[in-house]
């Protein structure tokens, strides 16, 4: 079995986790919830094998090409889903997060992303590559949880005809998003900004240079700083906070994909 067979098996398992997740939303779905959870664990195991085989084979960190990074981001998202499901119960957010995972897996395994191993240019040969990218993507995975919870929050009407109030649901979603930011924001700060600055100062001789990738990770980070502070001011909590959590994650996605394709700079390796 090579990395791609494991990846495909993981993909299929995640797909099943998503389907059973959606089934659990109907009626008394607690059985399906459990099935979805264990499918997720199984998929994570298969996916870990795929990443390990790749890493051993290439002798390089598993995030030096777009394919590897997307696969690793999907893996991190699964980890975040499993941790949050265990600790806080994701409820409706769960299956939609699986949708994000499945989309990332589809992208990773699509022919649009070349699968070849490329030798590393001199600037990328550093153990900081491990620390910088893995911690950043792990942080972004938790920010993805906040993104999905906030999106559902925004789409949940305050009142539904025939039903009492949706307030309890909405508050749970708001709380879930905050908890996810509380994990994702410190990780992103450490991985993207602090480790990024340390590595840049070692490789390029300056810790900050207003390179487009640097600016966009700063923008992402500022969005989440904004998110935290809107919650301190009365009237901003709720809808506006949720909107900012959504925009923040879009900024993270643009940092991840957009900067490489639309803007040029030092970071355009992959």
């Amino acid at each position: 079995m090579n990395e791609f067979s494991f990846l495909l098996l993981a993909f299929i398992t995640y797909l099943l986790a998503m389907l059973t997740g959606f089934l659990s939303l109907f009626g008394s779905g607690s059985q399906w919830r459990k099935v979805s959870y264990f499918l997720g664990l199984g998929g994570l195991l298969l996916h870990s094998l795929s990443l390990t085989v790749r890493t051993v084979h290439s002798g390089q960190p598993p995030f030096t090409t777009m394919y590897e990074s997307v696969s690793f981001l999907a893996w991190s998202c699964v980890l975040a889903v499993i941790i949050f499901e265990r600790k806080f119960r994701l409820e409706k957010t769960g299956p939609y997060l699986w949708l994000v995972v499945v989309a990332l897996m589809a992208l990773a395994s699509s022919p649009a992303l070349p699968k070849a191993v490329n030798p590393l240019v001199p600037a990328l040969q550093s153990y900081w590559l491990w620390l910088h990218v893995s911690v950043t993507l792990l942080g972004e995975a938790f920010l993805a949880v906040a993104f999905v919870a906030s999106l559902i929050y925004l789409l949940t009407p305050e009142k539904k005809p025939g039903q009492p109030s949706q307030e309890a649901r909405r508050q749970n979603l708001d709380q879930l998003a905050y908890r996810a930011v509380a994990v994702g924001f410190p990780l992103f700060t450490l991985g993207a900004l602090v480790f990024g600055m340390i590595w840049a100062s070692k490789a390029w001789g300056r810790y900050w240079g207003w390179d487009p990738k640097e600016v966009w990770s700063l923008i992402t980070w500022l969005f989440y700083a904004l998110y935290l502070h809107t919650r301190l001011v009365h009237g901003w909590k709720g809808k506006k906070s949720a909107l900012i959590a959504v925009l923040g994650f879009l900024a993270a996605l643009f940092t991840f994909f957009g900067v490489n394709y639309f803007l040029s700079g030092l970071h355009s390796y992959a």
Partner: protein
């Protein structure tokens, strides 16, 4: 605005929100408008908005007065906000017993408050153990005036945000110091060359420079073995690689790239007079050598990536040897017999040549140029501040989110009903409810504290 209003404005979270939004918008704009180009570039490529770009300084946005003043206002906001928050938080930690019993409560708001049905007499001991098991520090005191029970934990969490903000203040300060005082010099050294570092009393000598390649021909690493010289004495010898700079006397030296000194290329040329008469010579660019019969061959120049512009001028498209060509002149006596460009790997190309004899040919067989190492020397007095600030920032984030501050006060003044006061930085209602549950545990003496088993 009166002073009080100005103070309130400068410490407010609303200002922070407004500034964050403005900074996000401007930073975004700066990634879509190419930075640090000539004025003509904007007039040519962005005719619609160049009238806006240049006056606002959007062509160098991140050091423009507009952006810097926003950052400066943000810094002030952070400083004033911290100046306001820190004393209040210390006051919260200090109000132990003395104030609790006094009638004029100076206990800091906001906090949740409720009245208890009855004063917990003997169960206070049990309550103490319940809270201690949950890692609270508990203090009970009784005077003639009344009794108090004080339990709290997680003081780092109380100061977490302040630590974050202080870290940020230090990082921004470090950034400003870097922007003003940092120095960078680019050094291009060939092997054996010594260069004095401007403003310093030492020199750097490149002893050996090697480029390592992958099997597919792409660069794997550049290594510069350098010596630091002080008064002609070798102080230190070290290999500088990408990602492995040399630090010396407050300066850092980085391996940036490499290049070839094409003006000193050594050429191997083959001269073909006829099928049977040919000769190979090596000479440097600029050199003339004498051949037999009074003929002379001169290498006028060398271009690594030959290209011709609109006006017919030859130039090099890049610094790489992608299309190498040498300009060669040959004369017999005072008569020029050959002048033109000869191309490596394309002996048949004669478009840019003039010659008298149709048989005469010159071929560029080989070439090699001395390579130089490009090092960058930098000194940046702001860096250490940025690292210190980053450390505080990360510690502060951990404290803010993972060491929540919790405070519980029970107090009873003689003749008034007992009061419960709780305080947490977040989730205050939930915490108040949780504490009430804990209290009810102590109330029911016979029930054991289930949570501890």
């Amino acid at each position: 605005m009166n002073p009080k209003g100005a103070w309130k404005f400068l410490t407010s979270v609303r200002l922070a929100i407004a500034l964050l939004i403005l900074i996000i918008v401007l930073a975004t704009v700066g990634t879509f408008i190419p930075q640090e180009r000539e004025a003509e570039f904007y007039q040519k490529n962005l005719p619609g908005i160049s009238g806006l770009v240049l006056p606002l300084g959007l062509d160098h946005l991140y050091r423009s007065p507009l952006f810097l003043s926003l950052v400066f206002l943000f810094l002030l906001n952070l400083i004033f906000c911290s100046l306001q928050q820190i004393p209040a938080k210390f006051r919260r930690l200090k109000t132990d017993q003395e104030a609790i019993l006094s009638a004029s409560s100076i206990i800091l708001e906001p906090q949740e408050r409720s009245h208890l049905e009855r004063w917990l007499e003997t169960d206070l001991i049990q309550l103490t153990s319940i809270f201690r098991k949950r890692h609270y520090r508990v203090r009970v005191s009784a005077t003639a005036d009344g009794k108090t029970f004080l339990a709290r934990k997680g003081w780092p969490g109380l100061f977490g945000p302040e630590l974050v903000h202080l870290g940020l203040i230090i990082i921004i300060a470090g950034g400003l110091i870097s922007a003003i005082f940092s120095q960078r010099i680019s050094l291009a050294l060939v092997e054996g060359q010594t260069e004095k570092i401007p403003g310093r009393d030492f020199s750097l000598r490149l002893d050996r420079f090697t480029t390592e390649y992958y099997p597919d021909g792409s660069v794997r690493d550049w290594k510069s073995l350098v010596s630091v010289l002080e008064n002609d004495q070798v102080r230190l010898q070290k290999t500088i690689e990408v990602n492995h700079p040399l630090k010396y006397a407050g300066m850092s030296f980085f391996q940036m790239s490499y290049g070839h000194d094409w003006d000193r290329t050594l050429l191997e040329l083959e001269i073909v007079w006829s099928q049977s008469r040919r000769r190979t010579v090596t000479l440097k660019v600029g050199e003339t050598i004498h051949l037999e019969d009074g003929a002379r061959l001169r290498a006028l120049s060398f271009i690594p990536d030959f290209q011709v512009d609109d006006s017919g001028q030859a130039y090099s498209r890049s610094a790489e040897a992608a299309n190498p060509a040498a300009l060669v002149e040959m004369a017999e006596g005072d008569k020029q017999v050959f002048l033109g460009w000869v191309f490596h790997g394309h002996p048949e190309l004669s478009r840019y040549q003039r010659r008298t004899g149709p048989e005469l040919k010159v071929d560029l067989k080989n070439f090699s140029a001395p390579s130089f190492s490009v090092l960058e020397a930098s000194s940046d007095p702001g860096t250490d501040l940025v690292w210190a600030g980053s450390g505080l920032l990360v510690l502060g984030l951990l404290a803010s989110f993972y060491l929540p501050y919790r405070e519980v006060r029970l107090k009873q003044r003689v003749g008034s009903p007992p009061v419960l006061l709780t305080y947490a930085r977040k989730n205050r209602d939930a915490f108040h409810r949780e504490v009430k549950t804990l209290l009810s545990l102590a109330n029911k003496k016979d029930l054991k504290d289930k949570g501890d088993e």
